[in-house]
Chain length 106, copies 2
Amino acid sequence: MPRQRDRVGWAEPALLILASLADGPKHGYAITKDVEEQTSIRLGPGTLYAAIARLEERGLVAPLDEDERRRPYRLTAQGQTVLDDKLRAMARFARTGLTRLGVANA
Amino acid sequence: MPRQRDRVGWAEPALLILASLADGPKHGYAITKDVEEQTSIRLGPGTLYAAIARLEERGLVAPLDEDERRRPYRLTAQGQTVLDDKLRAMARFARTGLTRLGVANA
DNA sequence: GCCACTACTACGTATTACGTAGTATCGTAT
DNA sequence: ATACGATACTACGTAATACGTAGTAGTGGC
């Protein structure tokens, strides 16, 4: 029975995936590795592939040439737009929050 | 029957609440208003109060003097630490993502 | 030929998000 | 005085996600 860990994360898997693909097309496993390197967040296969499927349904990512061992995806134009919006909102929010906390930097 | 809207948000309600309290103590309704002003994200009561209850259980927020009409909360020291960590991670992530997207600024 | 790493699929449970409805108080304009 | 919108929550049910485990299979090195 799956037990949940810490909770109160700061980014949803969907966004982590989109951001990972901003780098260029990747297949699932490569996304996991990339996300882990960048954020220390480990996405299990259940989380990862389910999220990718939803992103595809919504037209934010699209599959590439189907190798039957790897399943690469790319960001769609809409995916780029959405990602850009969300990242900007995040950046603004983080800055405001840190200011409110009275943090030294910005 | 509750219908879900857009999905692929960029921040969890829990984090929005913590950030709102970084400003100073607030009660639930005031948090909703503040979050909406800052982020355009509208937290319904179901989402809001459930999230607050979880944050309290986890010791990230604490209730203040119980007026029986308003229920104010403040950030705990642990809540501040957690918030600070998450916001820094978010900021780093957003910057990296925007860079990957080839955005003009940082 | 074994074993670790790569890459997924399938499945079930735990958590969370979200909307609606309902209750009650307060302020203020009529 | 009273009607009405804004304030402030509680209660409840459903929908959507997150997450972990197990299982399957190919690949590369030693």
